[in-house]
Structure formats: C-alpha cells, structure tokens
Symmetry: C2
C-alpha cells in the first residue's frame, strides 16, 4: 500500500493538531490507540487522521472533522475522556493541542510517481 497524505477536503473543516512527547511507559497504549481509532471512526463528522513520529522525538497527530459539533461529540465521549486521563497519567511527558478551522487547502501528487 502506498502511503498518501490525507486529502485536502472542501473548506471549512476542523483540524485537531496534537503534538506530543511520549514517556517510556507503553502499557495499554497500542490497544487504546486502536480502540480510539475504531471509536472515532463511528463519528459521522470524522474525515480522517494521520500521524507521524520521529523516533525518540516529537509526535504529531492531525485529525480532521467536518465541523466543531462533530469534534465536540468526540471530546465528550466517555471512553475517549478516560483515555485522555490515562494519557496524562502514563503515556505523555508533554503535549499541546491546537483546535482550528481550515480556510483553505490544496494537495499535490507527483504525476510520474
């Protein structure tokens, strides 16, 4: 499977940009990540997400939502709230979350690729 960036959606849409540094604690993390991905995919306004992490360094996860109402539903989800709490207790040294409305976007795909 070829890796591709998530496409440029039709603005306006909402992005959540989560930048983080992990602890060494990994207990429960992969399972929770999988469960959260499953859970957010059931949100009707969820458009997709993508993630990158420099080994031993910064991780950036961007999630895309159709509107702020969809994101609010996700934020209030009880299982998600429990996961965020455990994230602060166990998995993250530090993080920053930026919630923003996208006003324009475009994509590029190499023709000869």
């Amino acid at each position: 499977m070829t890796i591709q960036p998530v496409q440029a959606f039709e603005p306006p849409y909402v992005i959540s940009v989560f930048t983080s540094v992990r602890t060494a604690e990994d207990g429960g993390y992969p399972e929770t990540l999988e469960r959260m991905t499953e859970l957010v995919s059931g949100n009707p306004g969820f458009l997709g997400y993508e993630s990158a992490r420099t080994p031993g360094g910064l991780g950036i996860t961007v999630a895309y939502f159709r509107d702020h109402e969809s994101l609010a539903l996700w934020r209030k989800d009880m299982e998600h709230q429990a996961a965020m709490k455990q994230g602060r207790a166990d998995w993250y040294e530090s993080y920053t979350l930026h919630i923003a409305t996208v006003e324009r976007s475009h994509g590029f795909v190499r023709e000869d690729g």
Copy 2:
C-alpha cells in the same frame, strides 16, 4: 536538550499543516530546509514550527504564525517560492497543505518529569 512541543499560543493564531511523503531524492534538501528555517525566522509574525517524520513514511510539519498577513508574506517570499517549486520537482511524492485559524489550544507538561 529536552524535546518539548511548541507551546499553546494565545488564540487566534494561524497554523500551516503540511503533510508529505518524500521521494528518495535528497540533493539540496537539507541545505534548503536550513535556509528556509533561517528565512522564516526573520518573519515578525512567525511563532515557531515543529516537524515529525515516521521513517519511510509520512512527515508532518506545523508552522505557527501570528496572523494571515504574516503567513502571506512568507508565502510570497521569492526564495521560498523557488524552494516550493523544487519540492514539487524533486523532493515530494505527494503533499497536502491545510491553512487554518486556531480558536483554542492548551498544553500539558508532566509535573514529575
């Protein structure tokens, strides 16, 4: 030096989210990246940037600006425009750029860290 996510600035501010997959072509890339970092740092509305790349996979770069005017200045910079052109010719298989206004943000730093 401890790695730390860029802080949560006082909203509103502007983010540019650039997600990309690189080609194998590296010629000129590190030098151009260094020059672009130097150049954007001279922009009075530039707040910072951060980047993560999963080895062999997706890269995400987030740049933070005080306002859309500052970002527009950066977009119109001639050296930056030449670099973007070379990026499409040589360095990127595909990318997506999302320009957004941040409405809220917050950070977390572990107390016992």
